[in-house]
């Protein structure tokens, strides 16, 4: 019991959460089947294009290869997921 209580109050993560986190990270690279340099190149190009229209937070930009169900739901397809925080939208495009 004492052990259980100490677990309750400590903020340490369950080992399964650690497993999940590590798996997700390692799978990003496994799935991409491309080098990190390749992803960096893609990232650089995306920033270049988007910067023409809006001011993005380059440091927090996150780009990953993952997998998702296809639209018909019948198969799983690779997907490129990019999370690009925008600081502000430039007016020049208007």
């Amino acid at each position: 019991m004492l052990l259980d209580l100490s677990k309750l109050f400590s903020r340490s993560k369950n080992s399964k959460d650690l497993a999940k986190e590590r798996l997700k990270l390692v799978l990003i690279h496994d799935r991409a089947n491309v080098s990190p340099q390749f992803l960096e190149m893609v990232k650089g190009e995306i920033i270049k294009v988007i910067s023409n229209y809006m001011d993005v937070d380059e440091d927090s930009l996150d780009i990953q290869m993952t997998r998702t169900k296809s639209e018909d739901g019948d198969s799983v397809v690779p997907a490129l997921v990019a999370n690009i925080p925008i600081r502000s939208v430039k007016n020049s495009g208007k």
Binding site: S15, K16, D17, A19, K20
Partner: protein
């Protein structure tokens, strides 16, 4: 309509052969005509798991090379009506088997069987390519460990790339008590990561080892939790909609509380 189903995993030791033996026996118990093909040349084991190791005369390589007819190599399991095993070669050169040979073999077996289950070797090399060549669908076996899930992910990618769409996931050796205390990834965690449909969950069960010791698949044991799970999976393969089993016994603490309050303990 017969179906060729490959049972694969990437990682070794997660229970492909046990799964093949149990699903195959389960299907035979449901009245289906089933043949199990062991494609793990040089490391055959489906014969011992099935308890048929003393009856091997010819093997997969003999059939592919034409040394014997298919029917001569098939071992009839006398305990279960309609169940046959095509064993792998143990001492032969594995390069004798190729994808074309496997496709031809599977297609010929379709004439006589409802289900053709292919037990795939570990790894992603030639043996894997041979095993999946003739398959209509795939079952990916994994356990709730990072290494097994990682390899399952790789295998799913390779299956999709080889036009084996929509493979189904079987999560083996789940320990309910560990999941509850947060020390084992749950079914949802694993599905979340792999993003494929589940065909079933098999709890970690000592009876699997006992049944393998005897050469009698656990699916025939009415008292085995794993056997129960395999019976449910068998019915799902046949197209029935069977709900997931309640996983494992409740942990000791909750059980005690329930007993204390006189609640029904199931």
């Amino acid at each position: 309509m017969s179906e060729v189903i490959v049972i694969t995993s990437g990682k070794g030791g997660v229970g492909k052969t046990t799964t093949t033996a149990n699903i195959g026996t389960g299907l035979a118990l449901q009245g289906k005509k089933v043949v199990l093909i062991d494609t793990d040349i040089g490391l055959r084991n489906l014969d011992v798991v099935m308890g048929l190791e003393n009856r091997i005369v010819y093997d997969l390589v003999d059939v592919i090379e034409g040394t014997c007819r298919i029917k001569q190599a098939l071992i009839k399991d006398k305990r279960f009506e309609g169940l046959y095993l095509l064993p792998a070669a143990q001492t032969r050169d594995k390069s004798a088997v190729n994808p074309e040979g496997m496709i031809k073999l599977c297609d010929e077996l379709r004439n006589d069987f409802d289900y053709i289950l292919v037990d795939c070797p570990a790894g992603i090399e030639q043996g894997f390519k041979n095993a999946i060549a003739g398959a209509d669908r795939a079952i990916v076996v994994t356990t709730p460990e990072v290494s097994a899930v990682r390899d399952a992910d790789r295998i799913i990618g390779l299956l999709e790339a080889n036009e084996l769409k929509n493979p189904k996931l079987l999560i083996n050796r789940v320990r309910h008590d560990m999941v509850k205390r947060g020390d084992m990834m749950s079914i949802d965690d694993i599905i979340d990561i792999l993003a494929i449909d589940l065909i079933g969950v098999v709890p970690d069960d000592e009876k699997i080892i006992v049944s393998t010791n005897k050469g009698e698949p656990a699916v025939t044991d009415n008292k085995s939790m794993a056997g129960e799970a395999y019976r449910a999976i068998t019915r799902r393969i046949m197209g029935e909609d069977v709900p997931l089993l309640n996983l494992g016994p409740e942990d000791g603490f909750m059980l005690k509380i329930k007993k204390l309050f006189g609640l029904k303990v199931n």
